[in-house]
């Protein structure tokens, strides 16, 4: 189990081995920003990895082209910025990530 810390919002939750950040957030009652719900399509779940980036598995063929596009569009290919899709990343170590919009509580959860 690794821990993901999200800024802004100061949210923290655990991610099981093999689980994506998106699925872990949903499991504990957060709706991570998305409109495609985990299909690596809408890009809204993307996060800037502030710490722990070096320990992440490399992006796969589904994620990589999307990251490249995001990079070109929003970060003018700055090399020190690490972007990842929360719906694809399965972290093995602790992670701190930055979002443009904080996750919201799922309806019915407190």
């Amino acid at each position: 189990m690794s821990t993901v810390r999200v800024v802004p919002g100061d949210i923290e939750f655990g991610v099981h081995a093999g689980e994506t950040v998106f699925d872990a957030a949903f499991r504990v009652g957060w709706i991570w920003p998305t409109t495609c719900y985990g299909q690596a399509r809408c890009t809204r779940c993307h996060m800037k990895v502030v710490s722990g980036a070096a320990d992440l598995p490399a992006p796969g063929p589904l994620e990589l082209p999307i990251l490249q596009r995001l990079h070109r569009v929003s970060h003018r290919n700055e090399l020190d910025v690490v972007l990842r899709l929360a719906c694809q990343v399965r972290p093995t170590r602790d992670l701190t990530v930055e979002l443009k919009r904080a996750p919201v509580r799922r309806e019915g959860d407190t």
Binding site: F22, I31, T35, C36, Y37, G38, R41
Partner: protein
């Protein structure tokens, strides 16, 4: 054709299987294999009404996992919507019809999302979100029942998920009447996928299927299986046939029973061993290396056939037990060659491995078919569940295991030959090809006259 397949106006069937031949032989109109009108009849009467294998339970182990099943021009998403239930949902958004998913994968956050305008559905098919719904649509246009994704019937058996597009269809158990008891003893539900491949052939789906429904072709098409036997190879297998189209080969006492003999002058036990070796490579399955080793130790002995073969099967069974592989007792009942109408063939060997074949039209083309094979096997007790199986293909026919490549090699030539001017009927042997005849007669009963 301007009409949608499901709405064909063709009601009559001028291509019914006739007799027109002597004895139990029959003539089958060749147009059944290329006529678009007959293809439309099949869609209306067969595919829209028959229970058919959509996927394996292994394909959708977790909540949210889905597998697409496509038949002719219809697509169905098989979705695990809870630990204990599976749904078969029509694959289209209620807004403007875009398909919700393709292939296989997982829906996350328990939501299926249309990629076009972001409408969402729960895994049970109810609509959970319409983008800007309050301003975009009148409330009565987007009521829950209007937006719910229609479902097909589902049922599971033998580790397979069956679907039926006709909501009034009788239950799967009724549909499988007669064949279920032949397949139950195989223990298919204990088996897991070793490999899963498909190939495309330029032939009608029935041409592809029927190549597997008789043993009459083995002598010429599969020399490695017929071995030293020439055209004295015994092609006579006995079949139990059912009115609902199913059939399987049985050990017929009148036909030598379990002592069925391939050809005079061939040692039966050695013939079995040689066939096992050929099948292992020829269908990329059948048995494990350690069984071949065991067979070779028996082959070195010089004892009467009948004694040795019984001892051999017992030795394999015991060794499997020592290895923790819970194979079923090795009897003819646990290793049938069985056809499940309309398009599934199960060739179970006695060694805890089975190939499952599925034959389908390739989309709307009457002269293109998909042949799919799952090679499955009993795992040693305690083996953890592996990752979801992946489907490979289309595999070039030449890269199929050689016995299957040999079968496929005849299909396109037959398809072209069936179109020959003046060749209005093919001739089927009532004695050697009865499963094909029974299959076609069942199809005709569904179509009506």
């Amino acid at each position: 054709m301007s009409t949608r397949i499901g709405d064909s106006h063709t009601k009559s069937n001028p291509w019914a299987v006739g007799s027109g031949a002597s004895g139990e032989d029959v003539r089958i109109p060749t147009e059944r294999y290329y006529s678009r009108d007959f293809f439309a009849l099949e869609c209306n009467s067969l595919w829209n009404n028959a229970w058919q294998v959509a996927c394996r339970l292994e394909d959708i182990p977790g909540v949210g996992d889905f597998a697409e099943y496509a038949i002719v021009d219809q697509s169905i998403l098989i979705v695990r919507d809870s630990e204990t239930s599976i749904r078969a949902l029509r694959n289209r958004c209620s807004h403007r019809g875009v398909q919700l998913a393709n292939g296989s994968g997982s829906f996350h956050g328990c939501q299926m999302v249309c990629p076009f305008h972001g409408w969402r559905y729960n895994l049970d098919g109810t609509c959970s979100y319409v983008y800007q719904g309050a301003t975009a649509f009148a409330p009565e246009s987007i009521g829950p029942e209007e937006l719910r994704i229609p479902e097909c019937l589902t049922a599971t058996r033998w580790g397979l998920v069956f679907v039926n597009m006709n909501s009034q269809a009788p239950p799967l158990e009724v549909f499988l009447d007669g064949i279920a008891s032949a397949i139950d003893p195989v223990g298919l539900e204990d088996m897991r996928v070793n490999w899963w491949r498909f190939t495309e052939v330029k032939a009608n789906w029935k041409v592809a299927l029927e190549a597997f429904l008789e043993g009459y072709h083995i002598m010429q098409t599969h020399p490695e299986l017929a071995q030293a036997a020439g055209d004295d190879y015994s092609a006579h297998l006995s079949y139990e046939l059912h009115d609902n189209g199913h059939g399987w080969n049985i050990q017929d006492p009148d036909n030598g029973g379990i002592d069925w003999w391939p050809a005079r002058g061939i040692n039966y036990t050695k013939w079995i061993f040689e066939q096992d070796r050929a099948m292992r490579v020829g269908v990329d399955g059948w048995l494990d290396e350690w069984i071949l080793d065991l067979a070779e130790s028996f082959e070195a002995r010089r004892e009467p056939d009948s004694v040795m073969l019984g001892e051999y099967f017992q030795a394999v069974f015991e060794e499997a037990g020592r290895r923790g592989i819970p194979i079923r007792p090795m009897t003819p009942e646990t290793s049938p060659f069985a056809f499940v109408f309309p398009n599934i063939l199960i060739t179970a060997g006695p060694y805890g491995r089975t190939n499952i074949y599925r034959f389908r039209p390739n989309g709307l083309d009457p002269e293109s078919a998909l042949i799919e094979v799952w090679a499955v096997q009993v795992r040693p007790t305690g083996t953890p569940e592996g990752p979801r199986p992946t489907r490979e293909g289309p595999v070039p026919q030449s890269e199929l295991p050689f016995v299957l490549a040999q079968d496929a090699s005849n299909m396109e030539a037959q398809q072209r030959g069936l179109r020959t001017h003046g060749f209005d009927y093919e001739l089927l042997s009532g004695r050697y090809e009865p499963m094909i005849i029974n299959f076609n007669r069942t199809l005709d009963r569904l179509i009506g006259t």
